[in-house]
Symmetry: C2
Amino acid sequence: MPTTRAPRRDATENRAALLAAARVELNLDADATLDTIAVRAGLSRRAVYGHFATRDELLRELITTGATRVATAVSSVDHADPVVRLALIASRLWSEVENIRVMALFAVRGPLKGETAEALAPLRERVAAAIAQGGAAGSVRRDIPVARLARLVEDAALTALTESAREPISGIEGHRLVMLLVLGTVGMDAASAAALIDGHPELTWTDR
Amino acid sequence: MPTTRAPRRDATENRAALLAAARVELNLDADATLDTIAVRAGLSRRAVYGHFATRDELLRELITTGATRVATAVSSVDHADPVVRLALIASRLWSEVENIRVMALFAVRGPLKGETAEALAPLRERVAAAIAQGGAAGSVRRDIPVARLARLVEDAALTALTESAREPISGIEGHRLVMLLVLGTVGMDAASAAALIDGHPELTWTDR
DNA sequence: TTTATCTTGCACATTGATGTGCAAGATAGT
DNA sequence: ACTATCTTGCACATCAATGTGCAAGATAAA
């Protein structure tokens, strides 16, 4: 009986490289080819099929791991003030820009729509909860129904992330921009939003 | 010499129907097939080629006519207060939802990127001008460079238009939502934005 | 009614991308 | 060094969508 040997190190590395390449390439072009992705990962298109049965499977993995990262990044957010909490969430999203953009992409388009939206559900819930609480406290606008405002807040964050792809933006600026847009969408004026950010050390940009 | 006869009435109607169908269908699915579009227009796929040489030509026409409509809708906007002007522009965009969405689509994606962006240039300029003026007057935030803020404002408007596709929204509400988001992005708090809208009769919703 | 104009249906060529089979070569585990 | 594991390159099958040619039929203009 031939005892199975351990998987080769380079193989697992290549698998990871493929996922990373897909993330990068899909951020550049939503219709990126398998070949494009493989080449960027330093492999041939044929080799991809040694790691993933189909293109969709690669994307599926990309999405689920991305969703996990985002979920954990956001789950650790906690703060009494719901508005600060929203800013914190925005802040975390910035650190996951590439993942978020890919997921936003497939949440709208293609056969993985359902799964992607589902994977992002926890994020939606946290945002909606913060908005509801903020509305009750009077610190968040009440002229837009909670569910809708939650979607708009997501879009606002996404806008900032997309902007960062259009024109290069530094880490600090991007980080601040996401928070500003989210707070603005929630009904806060620009000056107050800036003050709130500067008044809370946990909202300061830290590189890693 | 055979004097050419006038084009048939149904033919020109069908041409228009094709463009309309494309607009609708592309709003539902960015990757809509020529066949899908033709069927919605009540024609066969083959008939499309009697009106447009290629798929791209159909889209090109859709975009240029759309751009013209948007341009004229926005060009008539004029108001001393730059912020009100922005709200007015937002208001006009709402009346061109479908056109705008299609154009936003092709401004990012596909071979018509360049043309689409170019066709939207006048809109961009007007927004940027209003922002610059508002910044000087102190009624618009100055913590974000004008060009970038102009893009973000466009995105904010687009967000509202997209939201209207996600969940049905009445004309009045949609109209108001676009303005609210634009004003919020420009730095205004929710209450002031609402007050501004309600205080200016030219910002009132009119069905037509 | 006559006739040019449009539409249709079908067959077919083309293109671009995905997915498979297989043999030969490269590489890491043992 | 031996060998399982990966990668490669090429050929090939498949699929969906675009674009063409052509003949027969429908429809509006004259």
